[in-house]
Structures are given as structure tokens and as C-alpha cells.
């Protein structure tokens, strides 16, 4: 249970970090931020990077701020930073509700939002948020900066569009409208465990009280979290309430393709998806 050998790099600036990453990426170099997923993987020898580029010493990377219509989350912003709403309005409240489901307090003090995004665990709450809201990930390397929009960033279990020499420097979440309703629900056996299934739902109402702009995302079921178009179609134009929510939950349960090969387990996952989507929508209804 001891990590293998690696060389340690502690850059003080972003430029220095991407330069080092550029030289060590080909030799199995990895970025370490909070390390709350990477270090256990190293202890179990599931990961044995030859180089670690530690970005914790770079000033300013923990910033969380709004820029135009986006919430910008810096590479070293810790999970714990979201326990109180980081901005006024539905998005800050949503993130504060979601963060309570991420592991435990001493993990949240250290682990980072962007680390979760780059790690891309199928059961990551932040990845579900990024997928459902349509986040923009900003990657940097010695070759320059680029934005990668989701969908398109997550590419299956623990796989992303990031190149080995690219560092995720920020995640940009679109702000939610002041009248947006949102709800999140996660099912697991014990608080803090990896989710068995989870759902995030947001929508707005038009002047006639009918659902517009529905977003329904499901995580921990497929290789990557994603929006479920069939569930959103079941909501669009409907009055919020039991009938529409049940239809959307059923559509989601049918649309997902659980990674479990065992048919019984896959069926169980679909049942849980039905439940968490329904509960997320009920929470969304009560959120305004």
C-alpha cells in the first residue's frame, strides 16, 4: 500500500507547470492537485506515474468567479469551497447541495473540482454537473490554450479529450437563470460512497407554466455522465408535476445503457435511474 517511485515537480507558475508537463507527459507524467483519487490509485499501484507535477503551489488557481455568463472554477478550487453558495442564485445553491454528496469532509478540504473533471470517474458528481449544464473546459499546454465543450469532453470511463501534455486550468459552467429550477438526487448505500446512480435536472417555466429548457443528466450508470434527450423530450411543453416527471423518469430508465454486463444488475440500475430522475425533478419543482 505504498506508492511507487516518481519524480516530484513543484512549479510556481502556470507557464512553468505546462512547460514541465510538456517535457514529462511522454514519460508518464501526471498533474496532481488534491490527489484524493490519484494517490489512492498510486497506493494500490493502479497508477504508477513516473512524474508528478504538483500545481498546489501556483498562486491564484483556487479562484472561483463569474465572467460574463459563466462561473469560472480554477484548477485548485477545493470541493469544500462550494459548501456555501459561491454565487447568488440557483447555481450556487445547486453546487452547495451537490457537494454534500462528495466523499467526506477531509476529502473535500483537499480534493478539487477540476481534478474530478480531469479524472472523469463515471460516478463523479461534478462530472454530472458539467455534462448536464454543458460546461466548457479550458486546457493549456506549451502548444497554447483551447476550450473543449461538453458534450465532447468526457469520453468514457476515466477518459477525456485532454491530451497527456494538457493541463485543465479551469472549468466554466454556464450560469443558471434566476428563475431556473434545479434538483439533484443520488442513491448509494452509505453517505459518501460512490453513487449507484444519480440525476441532475433543471428547467424553466414559460408564461403558461409549461416546462422549457429541460436538462436531465444521469451519472454513475454509463461510462460517462450525459444528458438524456428522451427524458428532456418527455418534459418539454408539459406542466410540471407527477405525470410529466414519471414519464421523464421512465424515458431515462429506458434510454440509459448501464455498463453492467449482468442483465439483473443492469435492470437494477435502470430501476434506480427511474427513482433518482423522478426525485431530482420533484426537488427541482420545489426549488423556487
Amino acid at each position: 500500500m505504498k506508492p511507487g517511485q516518481f519524480s516530484y515537480h513543484a512549479p510556481k507558475t502556470l507557464d512553468e507547470a505546462v512547460t514541465i508537463l510538456g517535457t514529462v507527459a511522454g514519460a508518464d507524467g501526471r498533474v496532481i492537485a488534491g490527489g484524493q483519487s490519484l494517490v489512492p490509485a498510486m497506493a494500490l499501484r493502479l497508477a504508477q506515474p513516473a512524474h508528478l507535477v504538483d500545481i498546489n503551489g501556483i498562486a491564484g488557481l483556487d479562484r472561483v468567479f463569474t465572467d460574463g455568463g459563466e462561473l469560472v472554477i480554477g484548477a485548485c478550487a477545493r470541493h469544500a469551497a462550494f459548501e456555501r453558495p459561491v454565487i447568488a442564485g440557483p447555481l450556487g445553491i445547486l453546487l452547495a447541495a451537490v457537494v454534500q454528496h462528495i466523499a467526506h469532509y477531509p476529502i473535500r478540504t483537499r480534493g478539487t473540482f477540476c481534478g474530478s473533471i480531469a479524472h472523469a470517474d463515471p460516478a463523479s458528481e461534478w462530472c454530472l454537473v458539467a455534462a448536464t449544464l454543458g460546461a466548457r473546459m479550458v486546457a493549456r499546454s506549451t502548444r497554447g490554450s483551447r476550450s473543449i465543450v461538453e458534450p465532447g469532453f468526457f469520453q468514457g470511463m476515466m477518459a477525456t479529450a485532454l491530451e497527456p501534455d494538457e493541463m485543465l486550468v479551469e472549468t466554466r459552467l454556464p450560469l443558471l437563470a434566476a428563475d431556473a429550477r434545479c434538483g439533484f438526487n443520488e442513491f448509494n448505500r452509505r453517505a459518501g460512497d460512490f453513487a449507484i446512480a444519480m440525476a441532475l435536472a433543471t428547467y424553466r417555466l414559460d408564461n403558461n407554466g409549461r416546462i422549457i429548457e429541460p436538462h436531465v443528466g444521469v451519472g454513475a450508470v454509463e461510462g460517462s455522465p450525459r444528458r438524456i434527450a428522451e427524458a428532456e423530450a418527455a418534459l418539454a411543453g408539459q406542466q410540471p408535476g407527477t405525470a410529466a416527471f414519471a414519464a421523464a423518469a421512465e424515458a431515462a430508465a429506458l434510454a440509459v445503457e448501464p455498463i453492467e454486463e449482468n442483465a439483473e444488475l443492469a435492470g437494477y440500475k435502470r430501476d434506480v435511474v427511474r427513482a433518482v430522475v423522478g426525485r431530482a425533478l420533484e426537488m427541482a419543482e420545489k426549488s423556487q
Binding site: 490527489g35 494517490v39 504538483d54 498546489n56 454534500q100 469532509y105 477531509p106
Partner: protein
């Protein structure tokens, strides 16, 4: 291949100049190189919480942090809680409330709770239970740990008010 690095760790206000391999965790370094064996190593992959220490006053798993990452930060371990012979209110409350049996998890719980109470002295019951759910105890069933931390919180608040 040896790629040892020279670092200085500040633990409980004392400076420890050390030579460590980067792969060495803070937990192992505290125990083996600083001689501070109060911090226990349990699962060594961040699940059990027995190695919890404070880094810049935040509770962290010291098995999930490398010693080289802790250089330049203020580390507090269970050895720093008592003031000479006088136990920290939380330590006394653990004794008074029978919040330990075998004691293996106790240093981790103490540092977890100290970090949480210093940050939020008026912590509510639900939040306290959520915080304490971070660590594992196989003896007590947790109720007495919750009771002890509540009792200590009261006393710590009274002490602060009396100052």
C-alpha cells in the same frame, strides 16, 4: 534510483529538517522520521481516516498527501493537542464519555473534530454527524464519539466566552 529531497516540516510548531523520497506519505513521514507515532496508519488509501491530521488547520488524510507537499505548511497532530499535562477539552471529553475502546481511531477522530470545531464552534448536530461520518471506528458504535464532541464543543465555547 534515489531522488530524495530535503524538506522542512513544521509539526506542532517544531521544525523537522528531513530527507524524504517524494513517494513518502505525510503519515509515514510523521511516524517514521519525526517519531510522532500518535498518527495511526490504517487503510493507507484514504478510507478509514485514522491518519487524519490538520494541515493549515484543515483536517486532511495524511496518507493521501506526500510529505514533500506538506513542506511550508502548518501541520498539527494529536501530540500537539494537550498543554503539558493538561488534556485538550476534546481529549478529556473522549475519556469522560467512553468515546474510545481500542483507541486506534482516536487520534484521527480527535484531529477531525478539533478541525471542525475550531472552524465552526456552533456546529449543528446534523453537520457534526456528517463530519464524524468521515472516519471509521469499529468499537464504539459512534454514539459516544458524537456525545464527546458535543460535550467538548460546549466546553470550548464556554472557555472562549470566559476569556
Amino acid at each position: 534510483m534515489s531522488n530524495e529531497m530535503d524538506i522542512v516540516l513544521e509539526v506542532n510548531g517544531t521544525q523537522y529538517p528531513l530527507r524524504v523520497e517524494p513517494r513518502r506519505t505525510l503519515a509515514d513521514t510523521l511516524r517514521d522520521q519525526c517519531g510522532l507515532t500518535g498518527t495511526n496508519s490504517g487503510c493507507e488509501h484514504g478510507v478509514c481516516g485514522s491518519c487524519t491530521v490538520l494541515v493549515d488547520d484543515e483536517p486532511v488524510r495524511s496518507c493521501l498527501m506526500f510529505a514533500v507537499q506538506a513542506a511550508g505548511h502548518k501541520i498539527r497532530t494529536v501530540e500537539g493537542l494537550a498543554d503539558g499535562e493538561r488534556l485538550h477539552p476534546l481529549q478529556q471529553a473522549f475519556i469522560d464519555n467512553h468515546a474510545l475502546q481500542c483507541g486506534f481511531c482516536t487520534p484521527g477522530f480527535l484531529m477531525l473534530a478539533v478541525g471542525a470545531l475550531e472552524k465552526n464552534p456552533d456546529i449543528g448536530d446534523d453537520e457534526l454527524r456528517d463530519v464524524l461520518s468521515s472516519n471509521l471506528c469499529r468499537c464504539t458504535g459512534y454514539q459516544n464519539i458524537v456525545k464527546a464532541v458535543r460535550a467538548a464543543a460546549l466546553q470550548m465555547r464556554a472557555q472562549t466566552a470566559g476569556r
